[in-house]
Symmetry: C2
Subunit: 361 residues, 2 copies
């Protein structure tokens, strides 16, 4: 069966092998007689699934042992509150605003701390990462979104706060490019990621946090979202999203079989070069982001005339190229080309784009 | 294929037909070429799934049109914070404590309001519903857990606060018996339920709330958990747990095919009568709960000697009777017999109990 290519920004395409395995095991996981959905989260079977998922994730991302791996609920939007509830200590927090997601994080944090914009590229329409950062004297932490899903802006290297004279921990929202490139943990205090882009189904949020940052939650932090409580209970304080953890675990196994994050990065480079290369060469389609910080995962692009958008989307769908419509705040098109998107899918998109441009150009 | 009978308290057994349909549709939902897991939550396909789930749930539970139906994340434990964040207005809230879950709700609410115990059966080991309630003058709301999963205590009728001279809205945590009996909405301001017992997979929480109670959240309430924000965005403010909503929707369709909540209640009565009837008649097994408030969903029971527990569980597993171990805070055994448990499963359990008692009695 030939499946269409799904360019959704999230929830997003999953590897076909993962879906096939999930379907095959749906009524009986490993001879247990139960679906994973039906297992007590505290039973031996599910505990082994959870433990394996954590082990594989630690291996894939090379997570140091003094970081907790937490499986939570609520997605990036809930973490916009949960991070300051846990890490701000009611003090000052610096935000580098590079697109819609970091702007949202900044706004939400204001409920819990003195949130400051240390740098912003809003005036440039979020097409680059600002060069000059005005960090506070002693912020509780510094927040960046390392891949802006909506605007298609990605940090090609993590900021080195120490080199900027800042001792505060760096918090990264890496929802939409986690597991597509290595993470330099020496620069990161906390990383969070909604699962529904590169990891698995919606409803699971990964939080990877350095041990010393845990245990300082504000009193108003709900127990279910207090990292200390979550860590002490191995993500079992509230019933975790068991089936989403299981599916994410299947994705981790798939990633390992493919060659891990290094191989994913190699493929991401190849896919991004193919698509941006064509867009720039076309002289017809436009991506507005500074080439030094273009996202390898989310590629927004525009046709010369918005009145062609509907025809473009309809023709794409006919060819099995799905969910290419841009985010409503930006318009145009967006191709999300996460780990599960093969190079052939990007090639099929480029072929279609070339054909469409020739017919309408 | 004969599947074992799974008595887990949650995550719990699902109807086999639901699992079969989920497996069959895993790689291609209704010719879309996508798994439900891969669909944008804002796309036409998933919106139709969400809308159908809400329509079916409203029909099944006869939810009046002036109540919002919200699909959220975090489970009952997160709602223990989210409800007071939304409804307490920082005032006084009364709790009727009838077991482990309402005790936990009371404790968590103290972060956000003046939480009071209006009545408690703790001194009776949570074996009954207290008769005398000392309600406050003007509480923001009154909280009860209408089925205590751990202690096996169930309200056979919802409290009528107006008859008690109280105008406050009633909040019910009905996680572990939702859809097993009708809800008298004239007595209820808000109902919440983690999905992982009677509805679907873990990671989805249903909140059904009267419209006038929404819009009064404390400023410290995270946006993702502000009922007003959730309602205005049709549960799409943060990415919802799409696959869990889909699975719950399959359960709702199954419930409708079975004859709806009235039929579920008839079956629940029959299953509970069979199991409690045998326990009481056995003179060997014991359930300590006052017969007027025994749960039809969760049946804790004890063997005369705890040293027999391991042998009981091992023999049960051999016969395909799974996850019968009692909650660690209570000990003994617990049979959870939710909607997806057929009468034959309860009969198989009773047959085994009889055999075990004859051998060890």
């Amino acid at each position: 069966m030939k499946r269409p290519y799904n360019f959704s920004a999230g929830p997003a395409a999953l590897p076909q092998e993962v879906l096939e395995q999930a379907a095959a095991e749906m009524l009986d996981w490993h001879g247990s007689g139960m679906s994973v959905m039906e297992m007590s989260h505290r039973g031996r079977e599910f505990m082994s699934i959870r433990d394996q998922a954590e082990t594989d994730l630690r291996e894939l991302l090379d997570v140091p042992s003094h970081y907790h791996v937490l499986f939570m609920q609520g997605g990036g939007i809930a973490e916009n509150a949960i991070v300051p509830l846990n890490l701000s200590r009611g003090g000052t927090v610096d935000f580098v605003v590079t697109g819609g997601w970091s702007a949202k994080s900044y706004k939400e944090a204001k409920r819990y701390c003195r949130a400051r914009v240390a740098a912003s590229s809003e005036a440039d329409g979020y097409t680059r990462i600002p060069a000059q950062w005005q960090l506070s004297e002693r912020p509780s932490y510094v927040h960046v979104c390392t891949n802006e899903t909506i605007h298609g802006v990605e940090f090609q290297e993590l900021p080195d706060l120490k080199a900027l004279g800042c001792d505060a921990p760096l918090v990264i929202d890496c929802s939409s490019h986690i597991a597509s490139r290595p993470i330099d943990w020496s620069r990161v205090g906390l990383a969070f990621a909604g699962a529904q882009k590169n990891i698995g189904p919606a409803g699971l949020t990964l939080v990877i946090v350095r041990e010393d940052l845990v245990g300082h939650a504000l009193e108003i932090c709900p127990s279910a979202f207090d990292y200390k409580t979550v860590a002490e209970n191995h993500s079992m304080y509230n019933t975790p999203p068991t089936y989403a953890i299981y599916t994410a675990g299947l994705v981790f196994q798939w990633l390992k079989r493919q060659g891990g994050v290094a191989e994913m990065e190699r493929r991401a480079r190849a896919k991004a070069e193919l698509l941006y290369g064509y867009i720039d060469a076309s002289g017809w389609y436009v991506n507005k982001v500074d080439p030094t910080c273009r996202s390898r995962m989310n590629v927004p692009f525009f046709l010369p005339d918005d009145r062609l958008n509907e025809a473009f989307l309809a023709g794409a769908k006919e060819r099995g190229l799905l969910q290419l419509k841009g985010h409503k705040s930006v318009g145009g098109m967006r191709a999300s080309i996460y780990n599960a998107m093969p190079l052939e899918g990007v090639q099929a998109l480029v072929d279609y784009m070339r054909e469409f441009a020739a017919r309408h150009g």
